[in-house]
């Protein structure tokens, strides 16, 4: 059998997913009020680390981008920037009702309504706000899905890249982040 044969790659992927599903490193992008549910999830009361998930500092080392709450257009630009820095395989968990349909900010001129127009979402956690139990439950389900090789958000993003890019352009105009203090 030649190197790079399809079966072998699939087996390697399965092995990778087996281990990956048991150690999830997530970067949370604390955009909205939902970030306040993360400290109790992380610290001693609920202690998510015993379930195999931990915080990570930079997008390049993280597996999961956790988007906690509403996204203004300005923030969306930076989220896309961070997401494209992450390495495959990468997953997005959208947190709170604002990421689903805009939540209470559905009529705001500054916040987007449907996050899945711009980035591929692997799992939603509904609620305003979801409790730490809901977060851990969702991550457990995500772990099972990763182990079963069912999560394919990053593949969908690559496949439908033009469509996602067109949506992004419509909302944010330009993904590049300008910074008047450092340019």
């Amino acid at each position: 059998m030649a190197i790079g044969d399809k079966v072998e790659i699939k087996a390697w992927e399965k092995l990778g997913d087996f281990f990956r599903g048991r150690s999830i490193w997530m970067m949370w992008y604390c955009t909205g009020c939902g970030a306040i549910e993360m400290p109790p999830t992380m610290t001693s009361r609920f202690d998510m680390e015993r379930l195999g998930m931990g915080p990570m500092a930079t997008p390049r080392q993280a597996d999961i981008l956790l988007i906690t709450g509403y996204l203004s257009v300005k923030t969306l630009r930076r989220v896309i920037y961070s997401y494209e820095q992450m390495q495959d395989p990468k997953y997005i968990v959208a947190f709170g009702s604002c990421t689903i349909n805009g939540g209470i900010y559905f009529d705001s001129y500054a916040t987007i309504n449907k996050l899945d127009d711009y980035l591929p979402i692997d799992m939603y956690i509904a609620g305003c706000m979801p409790r730490p139990e809901a977060i851990m439950n969702a991550f457990n389900e995500l772990q099972v899905k990763i182990r079963n090789n069912e999560v394919d958000g990053w593949k969908r993003y690559k496949k439908n890249y033009d469509q996602y890019k067109a949506n992004q352009m419509k909302a944010v105009g330009e993904v590049f982040v300008h910074d008047e203090f450092h340019e």
Binding site: K74, Y109, T111, I112, N113, K114, V172
Partner: protein, 171 residues
């Protein structure tokens, strides 16, 4: 402290003929000034100890067809807050910068220009965006701007079927 408040009122009345004051709470003084008086009044206020400009903000009075600019000042010696208000025309919103009196106002003027469209002559940065990057539509904080229509047009609303449980004890 009331002494310094009445003292301040007396000074403003003497130099700028301002006679109407509001005091909604203790140690807070609100008064309106004419457009052309504002820079003088602010420079005077700074000279008598109001060293801090806490905020510049704007209110859209659409029935009166004017924007009201509110300068909030604070005196750290006497603890008095002063709200100096002035009005500019809503159809042609132009005013002068006070950057040479309070340099920190630079960013507030950008803010007001961004959300209400008031142009501040003399502030070179006031045309740059501060919060809304690449904004193209009308000024969002004006009363005649419809944020819901804008949101629907630009970001799209999610269509979904809503089901409500039948009323308990109804017909």
């Amino acid at each position: 402290m009331t002494n310094s408040m009445s003292n301040l009122k007396g000074l403003l009345n003497k130099h700028y003929q301002i006679s109407e004051f509001e005091e909604p709470i203790a140690m807070e003084l609100i008064f309106d000034v004419r457009n052309d008086q504002l820079l003088d009044v602010l420079a005077f206020m700074k000279s008598i100890g109001f060293g801090q400009l806490s905020l510049l903000t704007c209110i859209d009075w659409i029935e009166k067809n004017e924007f009201q600019l509110v300068y909030i000042l604070m005196n750290w010696d006497s603890g008095i807050h002063a709200l100096v208000r002035t009005a500019v025309d809503r159809d042609n919103p132009k005013f002068r910068t006070i950057e040479h009196i309070y340099p920190g106002v630079k960013y507030y003027e950008r803010d007001v220009h961004e959300f209400f469209g008031v142009e501040f002559d003399g502030n070179e940065d006031s045309f740059k965006h501060l919060f809304l990057e690449l904004w193209e539509a009308d000024r969002p904080m004006k009363k005649d701007f419809d944020p819901e229509a804008y949101s629907e047009k630009k970001y799209g609303m999610r269509k979904y079927r809503t089901e409500f449980p039948r009323k308990i004890g109804g017909e």
